[in-house]
Structures are given as structure tokens and as C-alpha cells.
């Protein structure tokens, strides 16, 4: 897999810091699954956290720990399954493979599948499937949004995005992506704010779906 478009360094830093909003961090994690270059950057960025953590003003513990007990782990750490995108983070999220997703039709040639975030978590995360040669839903402006290509491709003014690529455009960028004329496109799209994404979707699809 040749990946050409990566998340912005500041996005990866926020991920390494553990402060990237949930929806966005899922997209980044799915990208890291297939992009060793970004995974290496994140490792570097974790050193920043460790360095700050090391010099934090300690707060004394009330209890001292004497003998650690061999408790059974409360929750097993899940390992990423493999390098294929639909076997990694996305499958864990969905509980199924990409090909088994129950798509909901949004309009002509466009389907989506909203993904549940933690209760009360702000943001929006969903899969979007677009038929070949379709104009894709544009993201809002302001805030942060990330798109990861899971299958197929799309292109816009900035180039061609294929499987594994991430689009991490600034909030001041206007673009009009079109799905690949032969393959179409399946993406994982995260938005920091729920309302905006919905507004955009309904604005774009209003004439078709009456959303």
C-alpha cells in the first residue's frame, strides 16, 4: 500500500498526547495501522509526553503499595489484527468486516453508516460509501475533520487519495472531492462537532433526500 497523504503533524501530536477527540483519534489509529511512517512519528511524539510527565510536580500518594497482587486483568488489551484496513481498527469498531456493513442509503449513489462514540462524546464518526464518479459530501469549515480512505479512491484539487491515505485539511480549505470513476470510494469520516457534519450532509443532500 503506497500512502501519500498523511495526517498533519499537529494532529498526530494531539493523538500522542491523548487529547485528540474520540472520533478523530479513531481515524488516526486506523491510519497508523497501515502507515509505519506515521506510527514512528507518534512514537517520537510520545517522548514529548514522557519528558513533560517526568518533570511534572509530583503529588504524594495517600496509600503506599506494598505487595502487588496478581489480579486478573479487568480488560484484555486488544491487539490490532493485521495490516488490512478492514481487519484492524475499523473491524473492531464495527464488530464486522467492511463488506458486511448494513449501509443506510443517504441519497442517489451515497450510503452511510454512523458509528457510535462513547456516551456524551462530542463529534461524529461514520462510514460513507460513494458510487463511482460521484461528488462526495464536503466537510464543514472550522473545527477539525479527518477522512481516511478504506477502499477505492477519490480526487480533489490536492490530488488523488487512495486506500490508507488521510485527508487532514485545514478549516479554511474549500475542496470538492469526486469518487473514483471506476471503483467509487469508502471512507471513514470524523468530525469534531456533530452538528456541523449533519448540516453539511443535509445541505448537500437536501435536493435528493429531503433530510
Amino acid at each position: 500500500m503506497k500512502i501519500e497523504h498523511h495526517p498533519d503533524a499537529s494532529t498526530l501530536m494531539s493523538y500522542a498526547a491523548g487529547s485528540l477527540p474520540e472520533a478523530l483519534s479513531v481515524v488516526v489509529a486506523a491510519h497508523l495501522d497501515v502507515c509505519p511512517a506515521c506510527a514512528a512519528e507518534v512514537t517520537e511524539m510520545e517522548r514529548i509526553g514522557a519528558s513533560l510527565f517526568e518533570r511534572i510536580d509530583a503529588v504524594p500518594m495517600l496509600e503506599t503499595m506494598t505487595e502487588p497482587c496478581e489480579r486478573s486483568p479487568g480488560r484484555e488489551i486488544m491487539q490490532f489484527a493485521g495490516s488490512r484496513l478492514d481487519e484492524g481498527v475499523v473491524t473492531r469498531l464495527l464488530g464486522r468486516q467492511l463488506c458486511d456493513v448494513h449501509w443506510k442509503r443517504l441519497g442517489f449513489g451515497i450510503w452511510h453508516y454512523p458509528i457510535q462514540l462513547s456516551p456524551g462524546s462530542p463529534g461524529d464518526l461514520r462510514l460513507i460509501k460513494v458510487a463511482p464518479g460521484q461528488v462526495m459530501p464536503e466537510h464543514g469549515h472550522g473545527g477539525s475533520e479527518l477522512t481516511l480512505i478504506l477502499d477505492g479512491a477519490y480526487s480533489d484539487e490536492f490530488g488523488s487519495y487512495r486506500t490508507g491515505d488521510v485527508s487532514d485539511l485545514g478549516d479554511d480549505v474549500d475542496h470538492r472531492p469526486i469518487s473514483d470513476p471506476n471503483e467509487g470510494c469508502i471512507c471513514l469520516i470524523a468530525s469534531e462537532e456533530k452538528a456541523r457534519f449533519k448540516d453539511v450532509v443535509s445541505r448537500i443532500f437536501q435536493p435528493l433526500t429531503g433530510l
Partner: protein, 199 residues
């Protein structure tokens, strides 16, 4: 501290780096021998820092204490997954604390997922000289962090220690989102350049 004599080549390490070596050694003893004396030293050293980190991230002192306990218990359980050559003990423990904090606070307030697994996996074996460059690397990261212009240092601390998203930082500092992002990038660029020659 004790193992400070482990200086590599002509390079003199700061106390923090020497400490790094000691901590890695303690972690090895926990991993290999389930050495509870070593563990209690790790606890003494790290639990108060994890607690402080959790408080800075917005946890109340009781929750912070609990999360610090939990972090160190995870260290005990997973010590075998830590590989000496992979990175410093501090980085490893930091990622555990970070993930636990996300995990816990997500259940109670809006919080974000950090898919776990990647950081806690045992990594591929590395050559011994990479362990050396790891220590050097951490030393340089620290140097660059201490010399960052205050506007860059501020956003880095808000992101890593206070746990704020870029949008929250922008709001707190009354700056455009793009400015926050570019300050983060600039800070990272300097760190990246400082370790460039370490492969």
C-alpha cells in the same frame, strides 16, 4: 543515582537520563523476576507523578490516586511486555497512564478513544546501540522542550499535560485553530531536527 556511571562514550547524561537507566533496570527486574522490591521503587517514583498528571488532566484527587494505583498495577501485570531496548520506562509508563486516563474518564464524561494495543505491545528486537540512541534521544527531546519559545511550550503543555484538544486550546488562548496547530508543528519540527542524526 546509582547507575549514573553508565555513561556512553564521552557523553555525560543528565540526572534525568541516568534515572531513565535505573528505571528501565527496575522494570526489567519486575518483568523477569516479579521482584516486588523493584516494583515498590517504581511505585515510589512513578505513582506520585501519575497522580499529578491525572489531576492536571482534570481528575479529582481521589480519582487521580485511584488511576495512579491502576497505572502501576498495569505496569506490574504487563512488565513482561516492556522491552528494554524499545524505549524508556518513562515513555512506556506515560502511555499506560495516558490510555487509562482516556479509558476511565471516557466512561464518566465526554472523552475520547485512544485505541490501545499499539503502545503496549512488545516491539521488535532492536540492536543494543539503539538503546543508547534512545537515551540520547530522550535527552535531546528534553533539551528542546526546555528551550522552546513560551508560546510553543504553552500549547504543547496544554495538549500533553492538561489534555486539551486543539480546539479547546484555541478557545482557552483566544487564538485561531490554525495558529494552535502551527505552534504545535513548529515545536515538533525542532524536536524532530534535534534527533535527526540518531536515525
Amino acid at each position: 543515582m546509582v547507575a549514573a556511571s553508565t555513561s556512553i562514550g564521552q557523553r555525560r547524561y543528565s540526572p534525568a537520563s541516568a534515572n531513565t537507566i535505573v528505571m528501565a533496570h527496575l522494570l526489567q527486574r519486575v518483568a523477569v523476576a516479579r521482584d516486588s522490591q523493584a516494583f515498590s521503587e517504581l511505585y515510589e517514583s512513578f505513582a506520585p507523578r501519575v497522580k499529578a498528571y491525572m489531576i492536571r488532566q482534570g481528575a479529582d484527587p481521589t480519582t487521580a490516586e485511584e488511576l495512579a494505583q491502576e497505572t502501576l498495577m498495569t505496569v506490574w501485570r504487563k512488565a513482561a511486555l516492556y522491552s528494554d531496548t524499545k524505549g524508556s520506562a518513562t515513555t512506556w509508563i506515560f502511555t499506560i497512564a495516558r490510555n487509562l486516563r482516556i479509558d476511565r474518564l471516557r466512561r464518566e464524561v465526554p472523552w475520547q478513544a485512544l485505541p490501545e494495543g499499539r503502545d503496549e505491545e512488545a516491539s521488535d528486537e532492536q540492536a543494543p546501540d539503539e538503546a543508547v540512541s534512545e537515551r540520547e534521544r530522550r535527552h535531546r527531546v528534553h533539551e528542546v522542550l526546555s528551550s522552546l519559545p513560551s508560546d510553543q511550550h504553552q500549547v504543547v503543555v496544554l495538549s500533553y499535560i492538561e489534555g486539551l484538544s486543539h480546539s479547546e486550546i484555541a478557545e482557552r488562548l483566544e487564538l485561531p485553530l490554525g495558529t494552535v496547530k502551527s505552534r504545535m508543528r513548529l515545536a515538533y519540527q525542532k524536536i524532530r531536527e534535534s534527533v535527526e542524526d540518531l536515525k
